[in-house]
Amino acid sequence: MMGSDTEEEGKAVPLRQRPEWSDVTPIPQDDGPNPVVPIAYKPEFEETMDYFRALYFNDERSPRALQLTHQAIAFNPGNYTVWHFRRLILETLNSDLREELDYIEQIAKINTKNYQIWHHRRWVAEKLGNDAMAKELQFTKKILSLDAKNYHAWSHRQWVLQTLGGWEDELDYCNQLLEEDIFNNSAWNQRYLVVTQCPNLGGLRAMRESEVKYTTKAILANPENESPWTYLRGLYKGDTNSWINDPEISSICLKVLTAKAYPVFALSILLNLLCHGYQGNQELRDAVGALNSSISGKPDSDLAKAVCSVLEHVDPMRANYWRWRKSNLPSAIIDISTGIESL
């Protein structure tokens, strides 16, 4: 670090008074005469940026320039130009990037939602390659322990896995997060990534059975939790035939409906099945029929239409949507009583 200059506010000696900066002519910001959205900069900030501009426009990639970027970043971690220049300096000086990781961690702790910090982290990790893998997984885990849904942390973690590896414990990690909060949709999303892309798990088809078990258990624990329902549907992406023919799916819908639990997602999934050609069974028709008659008293022989009618009532926020779905059902209609297909 540069000399005895301290970053403590009020104690730092201004740059213009430091002999080691006497060769630099600070460049003021050129806002024009009457700028809009002018910010009432504090003098320390203005000075830092005036000196930054001088070094940046002169492309001086030196240790003092590196230190200056640190100061500028402290004032405004969103200044991507400063971060960009910092990277150029680090490259030119061939700096130890492992120290840079520590530096980023310090700043990230107070600025977890800043694009620039995460982009910088990714750049450093990419340069370090496989050596950085464990540390990056550890770092993102730390951030996620403070905010289990931090979008940047998850993106970075995914990038690490896909670029540097480290998948071995990822499904376990998802299990752990979901154990802590079964409603954490980011964790469900990560689970999907692992199940579909983890090299040693065999892919979606191979994992499907065990994942369906895991997911249906989560659904039964909290039928009002949207995440596992969507995840369940996702397990059959691109495989409609398996989706409509797996008895587990219709079974979970039936269980939830007969338990008189929150029915919206069960009905939505059932509607999805029916629209893809699932014929339905008597128990489901009865369950839907019971809901329909308690709501409107008007039975509908068309199961899909009946499901839509129920949804209009039990999910009023989406009433227009369910009405629209009802008017756009596939042209083949299964008559509920006769099972005869009619157009």
Binding site: P35, Y41, D181, N189
Partner: protein
Amino acid sequence: MESASEASAVKGRRATVTEIDQWMVQGQVFRIYDIFANIPRNAQTLMLELQRDKHIEYLTKGLRQLGSSFVVLDANRPWLCYWILHSLALLGESVDHELEGNAIDFLDHCQDPNGGYGGGPGQLPHLATTYAAVNSLITLGGEKALSSINRGKLSSFLQRMKQPSGAFSMHDAGEIDVRACYTAISVASILNILDDELIVGVGNYILSCQTYEGGIAGEPGSEAHGGYTFCGLATMVLIDEVNRLDLAGLINWVVFRQGVECGFQGRTNKLVDGCYSFWQGGVFALLQKLHTVCGETQALSDSEGDSATDSASEGEVPGDNLCEEDQTCHFEHGAQSNAPGSVDCSSGYTQNLRRSETEPLFQSMALQQYVLLCSQDQEGGFRDKPGKARDYYHTCYCLGGLSVCQYIWSKNGNAPPLPKAVLGPYSNLLEPIHPVYNVVLQQYQEAYEFFSRS
């Protein structure tokens, strides 16, 4: 249910962070709605009133001067311009001549000699700040503002940001994501410098960002998110590849983002936030515009057949003769151009969108209720949710969302909405926007004229 211990008693297990956070917000929101429900009608109208004067005051003040705490947005000043100028335009308020000149001049100082705009004078050009600067200038309108944009240099900047994957990088060696795609394509399109080189691969990239949930993520593999879903869908509309997306899945995801609080959340099981009134609400506006396109393209393809694609490949856009007078059609023009198989209106899906006619697929009145009662700051500006401080970003997107709500029943941009479409006094009516670019429609039309001439 407001406390974690109450929750445990009911559930028989510890409440999770998601549940606790949700109950807190829900409680605050419902308290506001309860108060509203129990006051007399005339008091309700007052509570629903858009505080125009206060908002204008808050916005204009910001344009003139910002406090030292804004130093964290020192690399986002064109955004501050856009958030403020667009908000004022939505309110139907024009900026005084002097201030307008200062804004044009300032943005010009943010323009890089090699193309694009940075977050402030002397800063590296950046796609997001370029989008914000261009949209600001278009919002201001007029010869001076529009001609200040160096389109030639901007075009080369966009080309430099183009990535092999088809996506774009936000700045030189910057981050690559769906936002970058949207800002690049939106700017290129509105300035009439969109070309095949910029478009190539964008559709593939965005497609790879649609998740199993149906929404769109920032990068492939990430979580479906309202902001990125808007960006992804708008981009696909602009490059005429919407039907490559799983639209049914996308719609299904976005309708479920509107919760009991009446506002929109950004992701599944996360909290409501006023800004998603635009990002998620805007998706419906985009989808609705689509069905207007399909109605006209259908008629077009019936009569012109293959010649539609031929003329497009020569630079002519089919449908020009259909919509000479109606300038809202540029949207339709853009969507009708080139690529075979584009805007496939023979697909049952888009025909189904047509059938939805006037009913929006989300609850417009409920969303307006959230914006006006929960996000609006009576002292001016808008906020994320009760308990949060107002800011210019939320002001911009809450107002944008409100406009989307008010016009969602309108078939085109010409007839004013019926009073029933506007929650609160009819004086709450805002200006309509172009949902793809998110600029006030009138200003977009002026820009369209200007940039198609040059």
